[in-house]
Subunit: 145 residues, 2 copies
C-alpha cells in the first residue's frame, strides 16, 4: 500500500519531568493508552501524542546535551518497514533537509532517523514493528497489554 | 456534541521564510489545500499543518519579539464556538497551565487563546468559523475557493 505523504502519526513533547507533565495532562482529562518507564502515550485521531524526557529525546535525535529549541516538539511519520523510512529519508535530504541522524536500529526495537527542515523543525521517520499502520496511513495505538 | 479531549486539529510551524519553507514541503510532495498571503495550509488525517511566519506567530501568541523556542511549534485544538474555547482555557489554567494570551477575537475572524504547558509547549485553543469540525472533532479543511 502507498501511504499518503501528508500525515503525522506521532507528536512527541520533550519534557523535563515526566510525572509533572503526566499530572498536567491528567488534569486536562487525558488518559494514556500506554505509560511505561520514561514514556507516556495518548491516542488521538489516527495519531499519538507522546511525553518523553527531554534529555532522552535529545539523545534520540543524536543531539545529546543540547537544549533542542523547537526540536523539543518532534513530528513523526511512521512507515510499514525500514525501506519506507530509508526512501523517505533520502527524499527529505534531496529536498534540502539537514540530516540529524541517519535511520538506524534503535533501542526500543524499531528503526528511526531524524532530519531538520529549513527552520530546524524536527521530523522523525520511523518504523515501529509494534505499531501497525492503518490502510490510510493513520495510527491506532495497540491495546495496552 | 461533545468533542474528544485527546486531539490536535492544527499544527503550526513558525518559519523564517515562507517561500523557502513552501518550496521544501513542495519538494517532499506536499500539496497545499490553501496558500494565501503569509500562510500555507496542508490537509492531513483529520487535521491541518500550517506554515506561518515565525514573527507573526510570536505576535499571535502575544510574545512579539521573542524567539519562541519550543513554541515555534504550536499545537491547536479547535472548538465549535467561543464558549468551547473559554471553557477549555479555564480548564487548562485550573490544571496549572501558564496563560500566554486569554481567548479573544483575532484578526482572521476567529477567536483564540494560548497557554503553555509545564515545559513551555504551546497550545492554542481556537474557534474558526471557516473551519467546521466533524462530529468526531477532527478537521477537514474546506475546499479552496
Amino acid at each position: 500500500m502507498s501511504l499518503p505523504k501528508q500525515r503525522i502519526t506521532l507528536i512527541t513533547l520533550g519534557v523535563a519531568d515526566l510525572d509533572r507533565s503526566r499530572a498536567f495532562y491528567d488534569s486536562l482529562g487525558w488518559s494514556p493508552a500506554e505509560a511505561v518507564e520514561g514514556m507516556v502515550c495518548y491516542q488521538m485521531h489516527g495519531q499519538a501524542l507522546m511525553l518523553f524526557g527531554r534529555a532522552a529525546l535529545a539523545e534520540d535525535q543524536a543531539r545529546a546535551g543540547t537544549e533542542l529549541g523547537t526540536g523539543a516538539v518532534t513530528l513523526c511519520q511512521n512507515f510499514q518497514d525500514r525501506n519506507g523510512v530509508d526512501a523517505a529519508f533520502a527524499e527529505a535530504l534531496a529536498a534540502g533537509a539537514t540530516a540529524l541522524k541517519s535511520p538506524e536500529a534503535v533501542f526500543w526495537g524499531g528503526y528511526s532517523g531524524y532530519y531538520a527542515d529549513p527552520d530546524g523543525h524536527v521530523w522523525e521517520l520511523a518504523h515501529n514493528p509494534f505499531w501497525p499502520l492503518s490502510e490510510d496511513g493513520s495510527l491506532t495505538l495497540p491495546e495496552a497489554t
